[in-house]
Symmetry: C2
Subunit: 354 residues, 2 copies
């Protein structure tokens, strides 16, 4: 089994290094030429922290065609807003027996990926899987040197077609035993908790962020009122799960499951979670907390909600506020139904994810 | 000519004191019993700053019936969210030859007042006027002692029925020569600039405010991104004016007209305006900047927009955000079409304001 890792940021370097350390053949690609040059010069990737070791990769390149040719598994480890571009580029070269894994897919990643490769001339549709989050909490301290601060105990994964997820989990049993197959991509896509905890505090602290004040994102940035709003947005997301019969994790349950936090409120959970101590707020509004979580989180959520006739006024208003602050049109640019390849019917969505 | 002044806050004490100093008979009412007791004990109102003098009032009471009986002019100087309650209380006692002036009306003040008194048994409909803002910038340094820091050079006033505005201006020519008659209450109601400059920075600094950080509301609280959002909200308001053929003042024009600020952008105007130096942000989200400006500013605006088929996504999203932060339903509680006495047709609105 050999791998392509697309994306050489923190997560991409970490996954490429890890797979390589386990003895697999790994080819890594990134479109950032300077980064690739530095990685080539370095020659190896070193992991430290919760995973220790180092290994060299088979190929490090900007050429996406080269890395996916004759590759079994294609790990996409870019920000979610780059998934569509990756899909467009690799569409003509994909093979039916390959597996693409979006790490993570955010909301609607696999759906968007599938629709995009079909639109861009892919005749041999591979399995497309998406994880619910990134398995490793990690940060590259320098190019080729990654500090792994955490490894999640369980990582949900689902695929299109849905029945392939258990095969993927089986394939990975010695690599990522944390993978847990879920019935379909709604289970991963609708459990995008980043979209619940990033845009609201970022926007309701926009003044502070744009003034470049330094403050702890969770313990200082989240007030009781802000936590209230997050809870209301989370309720809108959970109502989609209820309508679809998909069991979703609330922010509060997730805090318990992922961090062992037993709290009565989102405010208490997020501001008292010791794992969050020292995590600073973004220094600019042009941050992934908005540029990724709004178009690839909130936008597909309200679009799926619309298919179900569920009004999501809180989620809608934060899309609008991000649009007006950043002068963007995320409803158009983001993962709307058109980008997900769904016209206007719930039946279509249920058919595609099946 | 004699006066009732309803409301004994900063503005109410100031107006009552001023009218009394000019030699008019003035009766003042407030529902706050303690405040009224203190004012009674004090016996006089003293003005300092841009207006210097002192005078005693004819009556200071909590009984609204007493102050409006046989009174020519009823000045309502409460927060806008109290207008409806005042209207309900005085409805049965009003006389056709009286003039009610809302100082100021915010958005839809006169409309809401008219509808409310009709609904509460008023058979003798008085003239109902609204000013575009409070004439005096003032603050009570202690009960009965008001510092007047500014007097606006021009103050727009309009009335229902519309043709009475010039008579009101004429009546006041020796008292408030700043009054300028406008064709109808749309000119005053749609020029509620507080609603343009208060909710957006307050909500986009919600984290800071709820954490009780002290910062200058204008120079520190308004960033370029926040000013962008204010501009977009202002454009939505101005589009209502365009559709109705009502010439409105933009935030930028207002900064020039009221303060002589010549700036290229709202950001520049609001952060460089020396009159704003030292104005601190509210210490709590339970502030007039939200509790008055959302229900009596943004809510009637989007409702009038709806009559015209004008979408106001930015304004809508800030109503929603205020709702979720404060756990309110301002669309229902605020000045919606029902509260303004308008069903669903623009023609109705145009008829009522004529």
């Amino acid at each position: 089994m050999n791998f392509a890792v697309i994306g050489a940021g923190n997560g991409g370097q970490c996954i490429a290094g890890y797979l390589s350390m386990l003895g697999y053949s790994v080819k890594q690609q990134d479109k950032n030429g300077e980064l690739i040059k530095s990685l080539q010069e370095k020659g190896r990737i070193k992991l430290k922290g919760k995973v220790v070791g180092e290994a060299s990769l088979d190929l490090v390149t900007t050429d996406v065609h080269q890395v996916i040719e004759d590759t079994d598994i294609i790990m996409v480890v870019t920000t979610a807003d780059a998934h569509m571009e990756v899909a467009q580029e690799i569409a003509p070269f994909l093979q039916k027996n390959q597996i693409v894994i979006l790490n993570p897919g955010h909301t609607g990643g696999a759906l968007e990926f599938l629709h995009t490769i079909i639109q861009h001339g892919c005749l041999n549709i591979p399995v497309i899987a998406e994880t619910q989050d990134l398995l490793f909490s990690c940060r590259a301290v320098s190019v080729g040197e990654v500090n792994v601060s955490g490894i999640k105990r369980v990582m949900d994964i689902a695929s299109i077609p849905s029945e392939k997820a258990s095969e993927v989990v089986d394939l990975f049993k010695d690599i990522f035993p944390q993978f847990r197959a879920r019935p379909n991509v709604l289970y991963t896509s609708l459990n995008n908790l980043g979209a619940m905890v990033h845009p609201v505090p970022t926007l309701l602290n926009a003044g502070r962020i744009e003034s470049q004040q330094s403050f702890d994102y969770y313990s200082e940035g989240i007030t009781k009122g802000i936590a209230n709003v997050m809870e209301q947005m989370d309720e809108e997301r959970l109502s989609i799960g209820k309508a679809l019969g998909v069991d979703l994790t609330s922010i509060l349950q997730w805090q318990y499951e992922a961090y062992g936090i037993e709290a009565d409120s989102i405010y208490e959970a997020l501001t008292c979670n010791e794992s969050y101590i020292g995590i600073k707020a973004p220094k600019t509004l042009d941050s992934r907390f908005l540029t990724e979580d709004v178009p690839c989180g909130l936008v597909p959520l309200v679009n799926i909600g619309r298919l179900l006739g569920i009004e999501m006024p809180v989620t809608q208003s934060f899309i609008e506020t991000a649009n007006s602050l950043l002068r963007k049109d995320y409803r158009k640019e983001g993962r709307n139904l058109e980008k997900l390849g769904i016209k206007n019917h719930l039946e279509e969505l249920m058919h595609v994810i099946s």
